[in-house]
């Protein structure tokens, strides 16, 4: 840095050059911390920092003004280098609302992040050097500061092959371990319900087999390899793997070294649409899990999954058609009745009146897997009665001030949100007020605005007061809520953070009222 600064000084002369250069580098470093964290939160996908930068700079009026100021400063800096302070200041302090280290999801200096940061810093230094040697130091340094998100993304692209090679080592080891321990592999994918179903499968099997389930967040290549290498003890009978996907070919790659004996697709929904573009691509990507599996479990309530069931059967696979509704044709159906959940296996009741807080489709998948792996129906029935609760999934509890709290903060899909509204409508005592607190749903691509509008409208229809958290979906939620013509004629309450919304709820609700917390967003979202 010393060397560059010297040149900057000689180019522009005096303290202005020094100060401008220093300010730009300072701003670049702060920007780097912000956008490296975003890249980390977004799984180092190569467009993440830029996408979030556009979101952040485009939302609040102050941030939009900041962008205008920074760009103006950049243009004028070629004439008056001192003006480059403007973009530097904007990058150093903005976008307002995006913390440097984060609170819900702090920056973590992992080996991978350190590698990424080193590549990023190298590129930024190169940019500065170009500026210095071409004689436009102020402009180019400022531009470099503004371009931090793009350069973070570029660094993700540069490091991707290295990361794949590093992961290869772990995958190789995991493959050897699987071959040695030889567990039966149950692979579960789906747009939602994966984690719950995985927990249910492990629970139903654990009375009759040594079961290891992959930890929740370990659902990609590196994560599953780590899960095998660190958790798959000798003598494991069944490994239950949750497989997530952001694109075509990912699940196929996982199955190439972790071949499922039983493959499960829990549901298809518009999740990660930002990356998939359309839902058929999601279906295709999830269907990769079936290719090498000898047995498939599919929730045929979705016609697309019913179609996959047909295809799998034609391919000579054993197929369990399961349903989350009362269905006579499904192999396993789990339906909600006034007395509780009812489980039918090929039309025969196995369990009745289960008071479980669980999505019927997920339970049906787990029952099918357990039966496929030889657990007797009587034991399945016995174990169903104490299925583990999944935290934050439509979990009801009483707040200290006497109102009912429905916690559905782990849900992020429209179908689940709709079910949660229905539960709120049902669970609120007569005469009680209903409140829905939500930042809306994300990752829905072109449908995101529409889905959030619809959700807000449905909240208005059950006469709930809507509390909109953060800015990400504010416009769509407000539009949907007001457009639906709320009976009470109220407007949505706007809150900057979840904490502020919780305080609002505590101040406004009392005994007999009910609040639904629907979805939550980490703090790298506006």
């Amino acid at each position: 840095m010393q060397f560059q600064m010297q040149i900057a000084v000689t180019q522009h002369g005096g303290t202005v050059g020094w100060a401008v250069g220093g300010a730009c580098i300072f701003a670049t470093a702060l920007g780097g911390l912000r956008w490296l964290r975003v890249a980390q939160r977004e799984h180092y996908l190569p467009d993440s920092a830029s996408r979030f930068a556009l979101r952040w700079w485009g939302t609040a009026a102050l941030n939009q003004m900041g962008v205008v100021l920074a760009l103006a400063g950049l243009v004028l800096a070629s004439r008056w280098p001192g003006v480059a302070f403007a973009p530097a200041a904007v990058v150093a302090f903005g976008p307002l609302g995006l913390g440097l280290r984060g609170t819900t999801s702090p920056l973590r200096w992992t080996r991978r992040l350190r590698t990424l940061a080193a590549v990023w810093a190298t590129i930024q230094v190169a940019v500065v050097l170009v500026g210095v040697f071409t004689g436009f130091a102020a402009v180019i340094c400022a531009a470099g500061a503004l371009a931090v998100p793009a350069i973070v993304d570029a660094s993700c692209v540069v490091t991707a092959p290295l990361e794949t090679r590093l992961a290869d080592r772990y995958v190789k080891r995991a493959r050897a371990r699987l071959e040695k321990v030889k567990p039966k592999v149950v692979a579960i994918t789906g747009s939602f319900g994966k984690t719950s179903t995985k927990g249910y499968v492990a629970h139903l099997l654990s009375g009759s087999a040594v079961v290891v389930a992959s930890p929740a967040s370990f659902n990609n290549r590196a994560g599953l390899a780590k899960a095998v290498n660190e958790h798959l003890g000798p003598g494991t009978d069944v490994f239950v793997a949750e497989m997530g996907t952001y694109g075509a070919g990912e699940i196929a790659e996982l199955c190439s070294w972790m071949t499922p004996d039983v493959a499960v697709i829990t549901a298809i929904g518009p999740v990660h649409l930002e990356r998939f573009r359309d839902e058929q691509k999601i279906v295709d990507a999830k269907a990769e899990i079936l290719v090498d599996a000898g047995c498939c479990v599919l929730v045929v309530d979705d016609p697309r999954l019913a179609q996959l069931a047909e295809r799998a059967e034609r391919g000579g696979k054993r197929v369990w058609r399961v349903s989350g509704q009362s269905s006579s044709s499904a192999d396993v159906s789990v339906a909600e009745t006034p007395e509780g959940l009812e489980v039918l296996v090929r039309g025969e009741p196995v369990a009745r009146g289960l008071s479980l807080n669980a999505r019927p489709g997920n339970v049906a998948c787990a029952v099918a897997v357990a039966l496929e792996l030889g657990v007797p129906a009587t034991e399945v029935a016995a174990r169903l009665s104490n299925l583990p609760a999944v935290a934050h999934r439509l979990e009801p509890r009483a707040a200290s001030r006497g109102f009912l709290v429905l916690d559905d903060t782990y849900n992020s899909n429209p179908a689940g949100a709709r079910a949660a509204l229905a539960e709120l409508a049902r669970a609120t005592p007569d005469g009680g007020r209903r409140v829905v607190v939500t930042p809306g749903m994300v990752e829905l691509g072109a449908r995101q605005a529409k889905e959030n509008e619809l959700f807000a409208g449905e909240a208005a229809e059950i006469s709930a007061q809507l509390v909109v958290v953060r800015r990400t979906n504010r416009r769509a939620l407000v539009k949907g809520f007001i457009g639906a013509g709320h009976r009470a004629g109220t407007v949505p309450v706007l809150q900057r953070s979840r904490e502020a919304a919780v305080r609002w709820v505590a101040e406004h609700l009392g005994p007999g009222d009910a609040v639904l917390y629907e979805n939550d967003l980490p703090d790298h979202y506006p």
Binding site: T110, P215, S217, F218, E230, H231, P234, P376
Partner: protein, 381 residues
């Protein structure tokens, strides 16, 4: 070793606390290990964490980690190790530095906090013996005996100390010499995991096939609701010494037996489980416990600290089992006589250094047998 040198060696000893392991009690062992490591650090010692993953890989970790750091598996910053036998034996870093063959990490004593599986069954001990690494806690044979419920009951009964009838159970078992209901336990297992209460023998044998924890062997005993647990800790160094007697309490409305979650879930491991300590029991019963525990300590080669679990109806006493690497190293039981955790660990480390497990030797293999032997083929002929 002269006394002064011994003290110096003890204080300067580089200690590695081993915990985890491919065991059902992997998680509990992490709690015990972190407690011991923290206490040793506070005592001013040179301490390393030796984390043994569920899949059986050793790692060097910081002694200051928290339980939450292990939630997702191997914690950040862990260095993979291999336990090497033969030349250059010890815990050796898996990654070579600058192309040079790595050397074993420097340590004098392993403080063994591995519960429930290898580590409490003699297998880790056997490997450490072969590697020439000194360790605290039971020897290979002491651990193996303590882990085998059938063998242990036999040794205790042979000493004239009462035990409940205990019989091996396998799918072909058609008759048991005592009436039900029964309690079925894994023959080799350190905790209540896999334990089942059944009404009759057919149900018991049916559970053998279904319950994965009973696969490698099971024992069956009468299930008696009138009995309650009484535990005492014992250490053999510097001399045999017993802790206060505890009566563990079951969580209200919970299952028929003292379950895993009663002992371990929701706290600091065994140290925070509900209990009556010291137990208010008749003097005669307390004396019977003390006498039995001393006898068992000798016969079962107690080393380090062990916890012996008894059952009683208030008058009669039965020995139930021995835990040779007890949860939290049974530190919470030493209230009378009072013994700090640091002093307990200190004694265990001293014992490990001054009284190591017996080394293997080849005395007697002087070649005479080989000299007098003819050709191998002629012996087979």
């Amino acid at each position: 070793m002269s006394p002064d040198a011994a003290v110096a060696a003890r204080v300067a000893a580089r200690v590695a606390v081993a915990f985890g392991g491919p065991s059902p009690e992997h998680d509990v062992s992490i709690l015990t290990g972190l407690q011991a490591a923290r206490e040793l650090l506070r005592d001013g010692r040179d301490v390393t964490g030796l984390y043994w993953s569920k899949s059986g890989v050793f790692h060097k970790v910081s002694a200051t980690l928290e339980a939450a750091d292990f939630l997702e598996g191997v914690p950040r910053g862990a260095e993979e190790l291999r336990l090497v036998l033969g030349d250059g034996a010890g815990f050796v870093p898996a990654a070579s530095r600058l192309g040079r063959a790595p050397r074993p990490i420097e340590l004098d004593v392993v403080v063994n906090c591995c519960h429930g599986g290898p580590g409490e069954d003699g297998s880790l001990q056997g490997t450490l013996d072969l590697a020439g690494v000194d360790y605290t806690g039971p020897s290979m044979s002491g651990a193996a005996l303590g882990m085998d419920k059938l063998a242990f009951a036999g040794v205790v009964a042979a000493a004239g100390i009462p035990v409940l009838p205990r019989a091996p159970l396998d799918p072909a078992t058609r008759e048991i010499g005592f009436p039900g209901p029964y309690i079925v336990k894994p023959r080799f297992g350190g905790s209540s995991i896999g334990v089942e209460v059944v009404e009759d023998l057919p149900t018991a044998t049916a559970r053998l096939a279904a319950n994965p924890h009973l696969r490698s062997g099971a024992v069956i005993e009468p299930f008696r609701t009138d009995l309650f647990d009484l535990n005492v800790a014992v250490r053999a160094w510097p001399e045999i010494e017993l802790s206060a007697i505890e009566r563990p309490l079951r969580s209200q409305g919970s299952a028929e037996i003292l379950g895993y979650s009663d002992k371990y879930v929701g706290g600091e491991g065994m140290a925070s489980a509900p209990r009556e300590l010291p137990a208010s029991i008749p003097d005669a019963l307390a004396k019977a416990i003390r006498d039995s525990a001393r006898e068992i300590a000798v016969r079962c080669e107690v080393r380090g600290v062990a916890r012996i679990d008894f059952l009683s109806d208030g008058e009669t006493l039965y020995v139930n089992e021995i835990n040779t690497v007890p949860g939290s190293l049974a530190r919470y039981l030493w209230v009378d006589p009072a013994l700090s955790f640091a002093d307990l660990l200190d004694a265990m480390i001293t014992e490990a250094i001054e009284c190591p497990t017996p080394p293997h030797n080849a005395v007697g293999a002087d070649g005479s047998v080989l000299r007098s032997a003819g050709g191998i083929a002629s012996k087979l002929g």
